[in-house]
């Protein structure tokens, strides 16, 4: 069954490692919706989060092929139902009137977003949440006029004590 899978790869933080990962996904013809990277609790190890579309066989191949990359230390699949999935978006909205400004602030509050920049005719809202929440907020902002959107891509962490971490070597 075709499905979106959340894959987390812990990789050595070396020049070109992102290219190795993304190049592999392209060369093997895998479908990737989102890919993001950041530091971890261990110096020299980065964490790449990607969402891959496909059935079980595809998922298994993606994970095995990723594991073959020398600089990939560990690959895990996380079940989104048992995890926290988050994405951060910055949205620059035009606010042509005082009313519009007030409304945007109100919506941002309801969505637990934050106003991080205010200019005469625009505001930047920072919003964090799962994909649906971010999408819903963006939809609401459309009527005011969106000037720019920047999204980080999804990141995921298992709930409870389970971790994907590697032991410090």
């Amino acid at each position: 069954m075709e499905k979106t899978h959340y894959i987390v790869a812990l990789v050595e933080d070396r020049p070109g490692v992102m290219q190795r990962v993304s190049g592999l996904l392209r060369k093997r013809n895998f479908n990737i919706d989102s890919i993001s990277v950041g530091a971890t609790e261990i110096p020299g190890i980065s964490r790449i989060t990607m969402t891959v579309r496909g059935d079980r066989v595809v998922l298994e191949q993606v994970m095995k092929q990723l594991n073959k990359l020398i600089e990939v230390v560990k690959v895990s699949e996380l079940n989104p139902k048992e995890s926290v999935v988050r994405e951060l978006a910055l949205i620059k909205v035009s606010v042509k009137s005082a009313d519009a400004r007030a409304e945007v602030v109100q919506y941002a509050n309801i969505f637990r977003g934050r106003i991080v920049d205010v200019a005469k005719r625009s505001m930047v809202v920072e919003i964090t949440g799962d994909e649906d929440k971010v999408n819903a907020f963006i939809e609401l902002m459309r009527s005011y006029g969106i000037k720019e959107i920047a999204r980080t891509g999804k990141t995921i962490m298992a709930r409870g004590t389970k971790t994907v971490a590697v032991r410090e070597q």
């Binding site: 990789v11 050595e12 020049p15 070109g16 290219q19 190795r20 190049g23 592999l24 060369k27 066989v57 298994e60 191949q61 095995k64 092929q65 594991n67 073959k68 990359l69 020398i70 600089e71 990939v72 230390v73 560990k74 590697v166 070597q169």
Partner: protein, 558 residues
């Protein structure tokens, strides 16, 4: 120890036991070559970097140890890439060194700068760019370790010029640890047991041996297993030689141009024991009707191969030799008597019935006859390399081999121009062996410049040109599937291969009649220099049998 980067590179190579490097220098690798000038490591100057890469590959395949090649930056590096990709597809341990512009120039489109790291990422097992002189020993140690362990493959090390020239305090590690690289060698005991049980239950087992058997040195174990459970053995192109094709249980090669008996056996099997094979489409034919009645045991060191092309009912991840040893040990305790008698009889009947004819007396020559004479001429330990095309498939189908590492061919990439430089590398690796390249005229022309290299270095290989003045394999497909519309496959009247050979200082002779083949071979091998034999063959002779593309193995046609 304080030394320059170039000195550190050569010292690291020496410590790896490297005896020979195939390569061509250039501006970005002069510092390295300056140190090589005083070194004991032999450098063989090829005439094209592709030749260097294939030679290193041929050396590696003949010996089972890393082959080393070197090129300068830019065009030198890009010329290596076909050779690197060839080694990658066939899991061959090649370590390639490339010069690079000095680090301050990287990214500025400097003269002869090319992003060789980016270019070779998808065709290497791993690659490195040296970023500090001090890291050189460790990186080179890692490069050889990665290339030669687990599922082997090519590794490239890019050497910016300032890293070769700079000095630093360096230390040479005895061992390296790579966090994310831990190949599995031992098979999981539970999986081994499951495999053993499946073998006991089977009445029509077939063993499918791939290149992994040769790489892991598992021929002895393979033979033990086959004889223990009385199972017929088929091999892939890459597995040719892993099991003696003269053995009563051997059915020869399977696949698109395989033996009928092999294809039929796999199709009828109730158990397929696949060892060290990636189930290439050239071996399996259409996957949906491949071994349709069989449970599949798949033994491979690369977990990603399990289930990639063909479903595996019982996967065993591990090194072929160790897993087979485990399996044999378990089976010896459980097995009473193999109950495959009827099955073996049946496949033996196929084997007899479809045994291919080779003793043609025709003029122009039939390729089968040439292959037969070559086969009779060579000893068990001599080495055959091949180019690509009909020539390769004639060798694949007809030329029986009995020992591992004596049949060297570009299986995965199908690289024309591979066989001749690979023969050169194999001959350097095993100077005592006769080495012959089964060549097509088209393929030979792709790296014919290496005649200069073999003559200069007295690397006395023999090139047997199956001269049909066609890109024969393409012509065959056009004949069979495109209405004989021969589009861009004629190779014209020239060159005269005998005179080309002579012009390079090699021995050259042409053969038109079957009676002359043996003498020509003797003359060529006794020439005291490299030799080219121009066999004028039946121009439109096809390679049969054949499984048409997209069809099942059992639909093999004559």
């Amino acid at each position: 120890m304080r030394m320059t980067g170039a000195q550190a590179i050569v010292e690291a190579l020496r410590r790896e036991g490297v005896e020979v490097i195939f390569g061509i220098p250039g501006g970005a690798s002069i510092p390295l070559y300056d140190v090589l000038y005083d070194s004991d490591i032999r450098h063989i100057l090829t005439r094209h970097e592709q030749g260097a890469a294939h030679a290193a590959d041929g050396y590696a395949r003949a010996l089972g140890r890393a082959g080393v090649c070197s090129a300068t930056s830019g065009p030198g590096a890009t010329n290596l890439t076909t050779g690197i990709a060839t080694a990658y597809m066939d899991s061959s341990p090649v370590v390639a060194f490339t010069g690079q512009v000095a680090t301050p120039f990287i990214g500025r489109d400097a003269f002869q700068e090319t992003d060789v790291i980016g270019i070779t990422m998808p065709i290497t097992k791993h690659n490195f760019q040296i970023r500090s002189v001090a890291e050189i020993p460790e990186v080179i140690k890692k490069a050889f370790h990665i290339a030669q362990t687990g599922r082997p493959g090519p590794v490239l090390v890019d050497l910016p010029k300032d890293m070769q020239e700079g000095e630093a305090e360096v230390e040479f590690p005895e061992k390296v640890e790579i966090v994310g690289y831990k190949p599995t060698y031992e098979g999981h005991p539970r999986q081994v047991k499951a495999a053993a049980r499946a073998i006991l239950e089977a009445s029509r087992p077939v063993i499918l041996a791939g290149g992994g058997v040769i790489i892991s040195g598992a021929s002895q174990e393979l033979r033990e297993l086959a004889e223990l459970i009385m199972a017929p053995v088929v091999t892939t192109l890459m597995g040719k030689g892993s099991f003696p094709e003269s053995h009563p249980l051997a059915l020869g090669v399977l696949g698109m141009h395989g033996r009928k008996a092999a294809n039929y056996a796999v199709t009828d099997a109730d158990l397929l024991i696949a060892i060290g094979t990636r189930f290439s489409d050239r071996s399996t034919g259409m996957v949906s009707c491949f071994a349709p009645e069989a449970r599949v045991i798949h033994i491979d060191i690369d977990p990603a191969e399990i289930g990639k092309n063909v479903r595996a009912d019982i996967p065993v991840v591990g090194d072929a030799r160790r897993v087979l040893r485990q399996l044999i040990d378990v089976l010896r305790e459980m097995l009473r008597r193999a109950k495959t008698e009827q099955w073996v009889e049946k496949v033996q009947r196929w084997k007899k019935e479809f045994n291919p004819r080779m003793d043609y007396d025709d003029v122009p020559l039939k390729p089968q006859r040439i292959i037969k004479e070559i086969m009779d001429f060579l000893g068990e330990d001599d080495i055959v390399t091949t180019e690509v095309g009909q020539c390769q498939m004639w060798a694949h189908h007809y030329l029986g081999r009995t020992k591992p590492r004596t049949f060297i061919s570009s299986g995965g990439l199908g690289t024309m121009g591979f066989g001749f430089p690979a023969a050169m590398g194999a001959k350097v690796a095993r100077p005592e062996a006769k080495v012959i390249d089964i060549a097509g005229d088209g393929s030979f022309l792709m790296n014919i410049q290496e005649l200069a290299t073999v003559v200069e270095n007295e690397i006395n290989v023999v090139v047997a040109v199956f001269d049909n003045r066609y890109l024969g394999m393409v012509r065959q497909w056009q004949e069979l599937f495109y209405d004989r519309r021969y589009s861009a496959v004629g190779l014209g009247e020239t060159p005269d291969f005998v005179r080309v050979a002579q012009a390079f200082g090699a021995f050259g002779t042409a053969v038109e009649r079957p009676g002359e083949i043996r003498d020509a071979l003797r003359e060529a091998f006794d020439a005291g220099k490299p030799a080219v034999i121009d066999f004028l063959i039946d121009r439109e002779c096809n390679i049969f049998p054949m499984v048409p593309p997209g069809r099942c193995l059992k639909d093999i046609i004559e």
